[in-house]
Symmetry: C2
Subunit: 660 residues, 2 copies
């Protein structure tokens, strides 16, 4: 996509929407809240999404499903036609039928707004304060009347020229200092590692002959159980110069943390696990160094020696394995990690292929199941210094939740189960090509509009699709509060299947599989259990500190699922508490983002220890009323409807359209 915007007008309803050039018409319709029947996921197979181009042109949208006459009349398939400038589109009755011939209006999907970091404002806030700084010095060469030691000369220069005090020169620097000073006639670039608090010492962590102040780089790494992501950051501008990622090399020993721990408990197992994760990090670093192109430089590439610092975050198990700490008690009651806070280290001491002067900062953990990835998110998103009562949530197999503000923070992990990753759902799958990721329904015919990743024929349902499907079915009365299907809808889409009643999302012939793609009552129960665990966790936690879930003012979403989550759906089903959409932020990979912010901010490095100390970790299983909360959450949205005051109004509107 070029980034140019097009305006699309949908008739007969007359709804206008501005979309990026190149977007498919069906996705534009979805974004505008217009329902167009589409069973095949936007793959161009079912041919149900015919629209008429009344003004302007589109790119594509022609298939054998359209006759010559259709094409001449301006018919196109909405799923494969792409915006190519301003265009007016009519949705014919058969494609989007609604009472009175109007195209069905469905609720617009609300995604959380991406939290974008503006370096200028970070500077203004004092957050942009890189812990590693390079200064250039021109020193007087020694003479017999001024023959202080090389180190003393360097310190004197830093004191006189930059008012630096309390300096300690590390041994690796001392080892090369004599030669470096004399290589460019006592013109030298000094790398200073600032103390995180004012009492500390500043370390001279590197010296280079000549002026290298324009080249000062750091690395940030998210050490995921599955994937390791790294970015290379320009510490002068704060910008990300390169990104790279790879599967965590430990994956050969199991996909989850428990199997990794079990292997680490074997002879040499811990050392092996550490070597594997370090090997992946080293491979990723090599890629980043090659890919990065510093500004104002013709040739890309950065030397290892120019990396001043690396910050890493991962869950508690990944952090233990990274540092070679025994993870044994993480998986055994009472679930005791070796440590929460961690001392700063030399990257080279961990086996990371970086020079001896590079400092490694691993993010501290809270408990066995709330790790450094979450702490990084709390720090990087600024949650720890906000006035708003905020819910930070990272949804995966475990959902880690943090609630609080600048004054207090409480956290816990909820066993949501794998539903949000497609696990335990009949046709569930990971977010991959062919996964139904978005959905709407024609309230009259109950015909679906399926949108798939990669616009391929559906092969299953991913987490974000599941959420929208359940919410939409509930909103339109296809299922009731307890997730049971209305048996009297008179559509072949709802039928009794092998596992009870089900809704057919895609018939076999329009799917990418050899069977119909369905969602059944067992799937819906699994989904409800997952969302109930999370909501009950949030509610329990917020009530443990004497507040109500309705007091939450802001939600910060992290993780892949967070980026795809439909906010209205999440609030309809009772996964998230009701909060204004503009008060929901998405930070992407919170762990990586927090490490990036740490590379840029001594402010954050200083505050992290204090924040971790303030973060009270709860074991939800040990909080007496959690179980009751969990049971009470086994409804859509909840047994206590008063917790979702806005839902009633929304349902009324939807159902009026649907039944009116």
């Amino acid at each position: 996509m070029s980034g140019r915007a097009c305006r699309i007008t949908f008739l007969p309803i007359g709804k206008e929407i501005d979309v990026p050039e190149g977007i498919s018409i069906i996705k534009a319709a979805r974004a505008a809240g217009i329902h167009i029947n589409a069973s095949c996921g936007g793959a161009g197979i079912c041919g149900k999404c015919r629209v008429i181009i009344e003004q302007g042109t589109v790119d594509g949208g022609i298939s054998e499903k359209l006759s010559e006459a259709d094409r001449a009349a301006g018919y196109r398939q909405a799923c494969t036609a792409r915006a190519d400038g301003d265009v007016t589109i009519r949705v014919p009755e058969e494609s989007g039928l609604a009472k009175g011939g109007l195209t069905t209006e469905v609720s617009v999907r609300n995604r959380a707004s991406m939290h974008v970091y503006d370096m200028q404002s970070l500077r203004r806030e004092g957050i942009f304060l890189p812990p590693v700084e390079k200064l250039v010095l021109e020193l007087p060469p020694p003479s017999i009347l001024d023959n202080m030691a090389d180190a003393g000369r360097l310190v004197q220069g830093l004191t006189n020229q930059y008012n630096e005090h309390q300096l300690t020169i590390t041994l690796p620097v001392l080892k090369k200092l004599r030669r470096v000073l004399r290589e460019k006639d006592f013109l030298v670039t000094v790398t200073l590692s600032r103390p995180v608090n004012q009492k500390g010492k500043t370390f001279v962590s590197n010296v280079q002959p000549g002026n290298w102040t324009h080249r000062n780089f750091g690395l940030a790494f998210d050490i995921g159980t599955t994937t390791i992501y790294g970015i290379l950051v320009d510490l002068n501008s704060g910008r990300v110069l390169a990104r790279a990622g790879d599967y965590n090399g430990q994956i050969a020993y199991g996909e989850d943390v428990i199997s990794r721990i079990i292997h680490a408990e074997k002879d040499e197992g811990l050392a092996q696990m550490q070597e594997l994760v370090i090997a992946t990090i080293n491979k990723t670093i090599s890629q980043l160094l090659v890919k990065a192109k510093p500004p104002g430089v013709e040739q890309g590439g950065i030397d290892r020696d120019e990396i001043s610092s690396i910050t890493l975050a991962g869950n508690t198990t990944m952090t233990h394995l990274l540092l070679g700490l025994e993870p044994d008690n993480i998986r055994r009651a009472p679930y005791v990690p070796v440590t929460r806070v961690l001392p700063p280290l030399r990257a080279a001491d961990l086996g990371i292929d970086l020079p001896r002067h590079t400092v490694a900062l691993p993010y501290p953990c809270i408990s066995s199941y709330v790790g450094g990835d979450i702490v990084a998110g709390v720090m990087g998103s600024g949650m720890y210094r906000t006035d708003l009562l905020t819910l930070y949530i990272d949804i995966g197999t475990n959902a880690e939740i943090v609630i609080g503000n600048k004054d207090w923070l409480a956290c816990a992990a909820c066993s949501a189960g794998p539903a949000f990753e497609g696990g335990g759902i009949t046709h569930g799958m990971r977010a991959a090509t062919g996964a139904i990721e978005d959905f709407s329904i024609n309230p009259e015919t109950l015909e679906p509009m399926n949108l798939t990743l990669g616009n391929q024929p559906p092969i299953g349902i991913c987490g974000s699709g599941l959420l929208v499907i359940v919410a939409t079915l509930f909103e339109h009365g296809v299922i009731d509060q307890s997730g049971k299907f209305n048996r009297n809808l008179g559509t072949p889409r709802v039928r009794e299947g092998k596992s009870g009643y089900e809704y057919v999302l895609t018939w076999q012939e329009e799917s990418g599989t050899d069977h119909d793609i369905v969602i059944n009552e067992v799937d819906i129960q699994n989904f409800i259990r997952a969302k109930a665990a999370i909501y009950a966790g949030v509610k329990t936690l917020v009530e443990e500190v004497g507040l109500a879930i309705t007091d939450i003012e802001q939600i910060i979403l992290a993780g892949t699922f967070g980026s795809f989550i439909d906010l209205d759906s999440a609030m309809t089903v009772g996964l998230l508490p009701e909060v204004d959409a503009e008060r929901v932020l998405y930070v992407g990979n919170g762990s990586l983002m927090g490490c990036w912010m740490s590379e840029l901010s001594n402010h954050i490095r200083r505050d992290v220890v204090d924040t971790v100390r303030r973060m009270t970790g709860f074991e939800l299983s040990e909080v007496p009323h959690f179980k009751n909360e969990y049971i009470a959450s086994h409804f859509l949205p909840h047994t206590e409807l008063a917790l979702f005051p806005r839902l009633g109004a929304r349902l009324k509107k939807i159902r009026v359209v649907s039944k009116g």
Copy 2:
């Protein structure tokens, strides 16, 4: 010697002296200030030292030089007879002739009193404050309601049970923490490395299962150019449990620092030099661990893992080579070392065979020629906190001098040349068996009393002997103020030799060589140049800070030579300024002693950086009036006699006896 004291009475003069049992009668006489002729160095050869036992008995003293009748009459040879109880001894006329038949009384030799460290008083002064402490903790085991991390549990225990704060746990400790805590049911011994200043953090540097608080050990090492000495210290009592030493493995590359630097400048030379010194240290550590026997333990031996700390000091070149710092500019004008102060290190990082938790503290240096060995002496002797204006001096080929008190310190190195180590002296030698180390003269006959190391026939003169010989010859007018012999003494002992006039200390047949042992005018000039360099250095330094040399109130002597130096002689010849004998202390190996004190005292560790900052290093060659001072010092004791007010009186007394 058993340590029992005997009283010896010398007749006819009636002088009494208390000496340790087993001392030779001739040494007792020397200590009492009684001259007995003895040309052969106490080897029993010359037979000139016959004395009569009038009361009591002695052990030995019988040789073929004594007839049966002599023996029966109570004659014994003073050199080989040893005190065996109280005894009265007559010195016959032929052995110690003096005017009027009295035994010659000569000046008693004053040695500096050994500075003895009393741990109790160090404790009272607050100096005994070991930087590494072991504490035992009994922790509650974790439960589901108290499942904080292992590290947090440890810190909480230290805070609750010992009021410890600001703790950082090192990675090596974190790596074994889980297992160690559980090995003895959460009974654990924690090693704390205290910060040197109150702002700093305390490091948890080791953990051991069970209670090991009674075993806490440290090492102190003097890294000499020639020899490396180490001691193993009990950090609970402060006592030295073992001593060991060996030649510095670098010695194969030359005996002096310059040849070591030259080798270090070659490819791989620096790494090689570092490996060699580390290898010697490692060998010495192994010996210390085997030799040490902790108190209250049947079986000796200490485990490497029990060593909490090691402090090392050496001259600036040795310190550079130990740490792998390039020493190149130490030997080239303007003589710039890489660094003065040094960060604390992990011993293992230097290749020292100690566990990762052992901290290595190298003593800082002042300049290329005033090194960590001197700083260690200044710290360990307490000079840096005395009110008295003190001269600290370590005499070798270079004499390093420090002048000052608790408010200021100035230091310099003087090129004394090798005279004090026997170099450049016709019959000079190192302090080894057969070296004349003490001397007196019969003022009438000018016959010598030579005492040699090991009581062997003389083969040469060592530094301390040279000092006493020159001083004695001067005191008795055998040589004049400029070191020239009185040509008119009428004794065969003074004669014209190959290098001008000379005094025959030992005739060939009484010596251990094939020639007469002599001291000639060239030797004396060399000696005068050496003492002049030192005295001029001291005078220049003290005047540079606006004081006079006569203001010096205390002298601290370090080094081997310092232990043998005769104070009266040193002040007679003008090597040392005049100070009361009780204000002269000997600290032995100042470098080793300072390291030992550092192992026991955070006080000293804290103050050392500040002290080094206060120590102004002077390049004497760059101080304009040094050359004049040097020339003015080319007399015995000095051109300016007023600088030695007590000498006149002493000389008068000696010469009255001599000429009376």
